[in-house]
Symmetry: C2
Subunit: 193 residues, 2 copies
């Protein structure tokens, strides 16, 4: 068949769209190929294998997440910045749940470029916390705590683990964020000692 000027970027873009519309666990190279009017084997002219494709998509997701987070905290300080950061993260997870799940499959690959993605995840968090007077070491721990809360909340809500009680999930989320801000304030006091 005649070639159609398909690029690596086209393949990745189509994969992203397929994951968002069909769900991550319904994704397959064969159907992706079909969407591009190509046979599955031809995909290997553009990507090395499925893992590499996921890695590429993971980079995209992380960069998108970073973008909305940096936009959200711009011009804000302290609790306001942290709330805005969390809200942006939460909204991203709710609006693009299937894409969000790709992040988790990322770190399994042993790749140097992972480090870049790692710092892209951390940077907005560090930036949002910068208004607090914390030591570097505290910030390294606290960004892990922040990510734990956010990821844990988003993935469990998405999985349907929060349906047990008749209380609003949004209220639970607010409490989680409040807890992190309490921890920030408490850590600040500790640092000043």
């Amino acid at each position: 068949m005649a070639r159609q000027g398909l690029t690596r970027a086209d393949v990745i873009q189509a994969a992203i769209e397929m994951i968002e519309s069909e769900g991550l666990h319904n994704f397959s190279l064969r159907e992706l190929a079909g969407r591009l009017h190509i046979k599955a084997a031809s995909l290997y002219n553009h990507i090395r294998n499925m893992d590499e494709l996921y890695t590429e998509i993971g980079y995209y997701v992380i960069s998108e997440l970073k973008k909305v987070q940096l936009g959200a905290i711009a011009g804000k300080q302290r609790a306001e910045a942290v709330k805005a950061l969390a809200d942006a993260y939460y909204r991203f997870g709710k609006e693009r749940p299937e894409l969000y799940k790709v992040i988790l499959s990322l770190p399994m690959v042993k790749n140097d470029a992972i480090h870049r993605a790692g710092f892209d995840i951390v940077e907005p968090i560090m930036s949002a916390m910068s208004g607090y007077r914390l030591t570097g070491e505290q910030m390294m721990h606290l960004q892990r705590v922040f990510r734990s809360i956010m990821h844990g909340f988003i993935s469990q809500e998405e999985a349907g683990c929060f349906r047990q009680f008749p209380v609003d999930v949004g209220d639970s989320y607010q409490m989680a964020v409040r807890g992190f801000i309490l921890l920030l304030e408490n850590s600040e006091k500790e640092a000043r000692k």
Copy 2:
């Protein structure tokens, strides 16, 4: 071939062992059958399908988790109980990471029995928090926050997402738990008003 008195429980037990030793994403019905000296098709005499098997394993995991948690908090109160609860959860996640991952695949199934598992997850948390003077509504929110922190931390550490900084992951964990206890104390003050 002659039958060998294989039971449904044997199949589930072998599946659990295979997941723990080979990893969840290396699990397959064909290899499970091989371990039981059976053909894959014969498994269907004992289980309806793979989803049902995962569900069954999920119940096992949740009951094991509940067991160690209840044991850990026995005779303890307030912060001490919550710390013991978190430690038991954390230890379980670190010691049996592949089995822990099964929990996440559980809620996708629409099953009434899920409710039972749901309460088994919640019960030890509610019990550990019972020493705090909280409203019922607060406790419903707070158990979600607790599960978010713990699940988020465990799954991200396991996925290798916490390798970026040269600070001890155990210390980050301690900080996360401290944050939750701060939130508990703060919520208690709010409730007393």
